[in-house]
């Protein structure tokens, strides 16, 4: 039952009304998509997230099928617009 921290940035933080939350996912083969599903269940405002947002795990951008482990930091990233 991995516990992970989920961080929200920029517009997503505004939509969620917070910059981070902690979620517990069901099993040890959990993925970022499972974390996202938990966020949708537990965070008011998460319904406004797109179906497949950009995501990072432990500071590296990943696909939604990437595995998550106990203590990981998952981040949901709005479309990037640096420079």
């Amino acid at each position: 039952m991995p516990n992970v921290t989920v961080r929200f940035f920029a517009r997503y933080a505004e939509l969620m009304g917070c910059e981070s939350t902690a979620v517990r996912v069901a099993d040890n083969a959990a993925t970022v998509a499972d974390v996202l599903a938990r966020v949708r269940e537990t965070v008011p405002g998460a319904g406004a997230l797109p179906p497949r947002p950009l995501a990072a795990v432990n500071l590296r951008q990943v696909k939604l099928d990437a595995r998550v482990n106990e203590g990981d930091e998952v981040a949901l990233l709005p479309p990037l617009s640096g420079g």
């Binding site: 961080r7 940035f9 920029a10 517009r11 505004e14 939509l15 406004a48 797109p50 990072a56 500071l59 590296r60 951008q61 981040a75 990233l77 709005p78 479309p79 990037l80 617009s81 640096g82 420079g83």
Partner: protein, 145 residues
Amino acid sequence: MMAYLTHAPISVDSLLREVQSPARGGTCVFLGTVRTDDDVTAIEYSAYDEMAIGEIERILAEAHDRWSDAGVTLQHRLGTIPVGEASIAIVAAAPHRDAAFGACRYVIEAVKKRLPVWKKEIHADGTVAWVDPSGKPVAGGLRDR
């Protein structure tokens, strides 16, 4: 070494000092500055700082792998930046111009694709809008940019 992220105005001279040397005869400087489109008066930049720093380190390492004689560095400014001031500076110095231009171009294109940085336009009438470079319509009043 300069910090890759700063809340202060960017000093191009400081970046030049980091990468220029007597053996490097070509130096390319790219500045991205805040435009006045649609009555924009400023852009507020925010970042996932820890990830952005890691990504910048990877991008600069890739540039070094491809142009091993070049010195390349960059600084991205965060916070509220008024029109006309630089949000990013990239400096590439190499023995010859091809490598300097190549490395500088490589780094800005990678920054645009990979850096977890976001901008919110501030307009003269006080309204604000998140910038979505993908142009996809998303709830929240995004601009196609």
